[in-house]
């Protein structure tokens, strides 16, 4: 498939020029907030906001669609498993006992477990979109530079950046390898769950061999460009520097974080999966 799997979208939007450290703070604080709240509507609001941010930065729709497609399995699995294994009460209203929506044999589906399952899935979506806001608008070089500026050894930053960069590449590799094996009559749809898992083995092994080959070539390419030369301090052609706008964004970010955290712990905002207070 001649489709680009790069996460970074090259644009010159307001978000692209924001210092990567500010975006990193957004990811960190945003994720912390999402883990703090449990409310369905807060997750939905966060998703709306991140979508607005992503689209305002000129990220095309098919990239957003790709994220949702990637999250689809999680979005189905979490609410389903939660409902099955964690039937809970009390009721959504003040009435006594859990509101049971459906009961059959050992399976008891309560309204609260459905809401909690959905809000948990949405929480992961929200965190994913917060991270993708950063990855869609920050190129690899800026990403590494920001982490190194924050004190991370350069090699570690590079390892992280390469790891993130290769997630979509390996997704693309999976598609190609799967096509190549299916072209040799490998049927991935036949049989029960275990047979189908087993029939993925030829794909997995071919992928591991390809991944090892790629990592070896990548390591050699980097080494041949003298990466890791002892006793040499790396210089930087384009350094990153905070602009006035970056100070304003950072201040706004921390102010918003403090307000929301106060609302959460002082006034109990978003502790219930359905009710705000």
């Amino acid at each position: 498939m001649s489709f680009s799997f790069d996460l970074y979208v090259q644009r010159r939007s307001w978000l692209h020029v924001v210092d990567p450290r500010v975006k990193l703070a957004f990811v960190f604080l945003g994720t912390l907030l999402m883990l703090t709240f449990k409310n369905l509507f807060i997750m939905l609001l966060s998703l709306v906001i991140t979508h607005l941010i992503i689209f305002s930065a000129g990220v095309p729709g098919h990239k957003v669609k790709w994220v949702w497609k990637t999250m689809l399995l999680i979005n189905v699995l979490i609410p389903t498993l939660w409902v099955i294994f964690y039937p809970e009460g009390p009721a959504l209203s003040a009435a006594e006992g859990p509101t049971v929506l459906f009961q059959f044999w050992f399976l008891k589906v309560t309204a609260l477990s459905v809401v909690r399952g959905v809000s948990l899935a949405l929480r992961l979506d929200a965190i994913a979109f917060i991270c993708f806001t950063w990855l869609f608008t920050t190129d690899q070089a800026s990403l590494v530079r920001s982490l190194v500026k924050l004190g991370l050894p350069f090699e570690w930053g590079l390892v992280l950046a390469i790891g993130l960069r290769y997630i979509p590449t390996f997704y693309g590799l999976y598609t190609v390898v799967s096509e190549a094996q299916q072209a040799r009559a490998l049927d991935l749809t036949r049989g029960n769950f275990f047979t189908r898992v087993r029939s993925h083995l030829p794909i997995l092994v071919a992928m591991i061999i390809s991944a090892l080959r790629t990592s070896e070539q990548l390591a050699r390419a980097m080494e041949s460009r003298t990466l890791g030369l002892p006793g040499v301090k790396r210089t930087c052609l384009r350094d990153i520097r905070f602009r006035l706008a970056d100070y304003v964004y950072t201040a706004l970010l921390f102010a918003l974080f403090s307000i929301l955290l106060t609302l959460r712990f002082q006034f109990g905002l978003g502790t219930h999966p359905l009710y705000l207070f």
């Binding site: 190609v176 072209a183 083995l201 030829p202 092994v205």
Partner: protein, 271 residues
């Protein structure tokens, strides 16, 4: 192929109304610039891609025409073999023999038949020496050959080869091209996706030129290389020997020379 259209994610239209018929026993080269739709087109033959609009019909081993929409890739693999450009995308077994047996076993053939086909493929592709070697540790040329042999052992009537000579040295390249020619002589239909114009000129009987997802010309290779204006449009450079013969046309050389051998005999006749 009847009025074939294909779009990726409903956003990028890769193929625009392709009408095409490939006959049994043909040797066709699919050429065009990067992004012209070559790979997208051939992936429709074995059902890896299904048309957004239009139909792709493949004649089955029993002679009946079947719509690829109604068949899985695995079902179509009995008739259409697809050799991917990178052999590492398919190699996973611990022996070459196992790699060659994977496809026939998936087709549900008896162990005796699988063994017969594997031995035949090993002999035809001169791989007996490496039969018990792990293919992943062999050189690129050999891995490429194993990739083709692994599809050959399934005995499809139609072979699609994506850039078969890419990354190979001249000797390995010629060896592989010779094997493809032999498969063609044994009655297999061959479809090559390639940028190697020398390979196209010397071996493929017909050429299909694509531009922006449309067929620009589909004709005998000799005629295609005569359409210099079409080739210029698609930035395809004919082989040097064809260009030289064209330049010498005012001096009596034929303008449809495709190989050095043809050039040599035409030259000897005239000068």
């Amino acid at each position: 192929m009847q009025d074939l259209w294909y779009s990726y994610d409903d956003e990028v239209t890769a193929l625009r109304g392709i009408n095409l018929e490939i006959e049994d026993g043909d040797y066709v080269a699919v050429i065009g610039q990067n992004g012209s739709g070559k790979t997208t087109l051939v992936k429709h033959f074995n059902g890896l891609l299904k048309p957004t609009q239009g139909r792709v019909l493949v004649r089955g081993n029993n002679g009946s025409l079947r719509d690829t929409v109604d068949l899985t890739v695995g079902q179509l693999a009995q008739t259409v073999g697809y050799v991917f450009q990178n052999p590492d995308h398919q190699i996973f077994c611990d022996t070459t023999r196992g790699e060659l047996a994977f496809g026939p076993r998936n087709l549900g053939l008896s162990e005796a038949e699988v063994k017969r086909r594997v031995e035949e493929a090993l002999t035809r592709f001169d791989l007996e020496e490496y039969a018990d070697w792990p293919p992943a540790i062999l050189g690129y040329g050999l891995r490429r050959k194993i990739g083709v042999a692994a599809v050959y052992s399934m005995q499809p009537r139609l072979f699609i080869l994506d850039e078969p000579t890419a990354g190979l040295d001249h000797r390995s390249s010629m060896e592989l091209v010779e094997l493809i020619g032999e498969m063609h002589r044994h009655g297999h239909t061959i479809i090559l996706v390639t940028h190697d114009m020398k390979l196209v000129a010397e071996f493929s009987r017909k050429s299909l030129v694509l531009r922006d997802g449309q067929v620009l010309v589909y004709d005998d290779t000799r005629n295609v290389f005569k359409h210099s204006e079409v080739l210029r449009d698609t930035q395809i450079e004919p082989p040097q020997i064809t260009v030289l013969a064209k330049r010498m046309a005012p001096y009596g050389m034929p303008d449809d020379v495709l190989s050095v051998e043809e050039f040599y005999s035409a030259y000897c006749e005239r000068f």
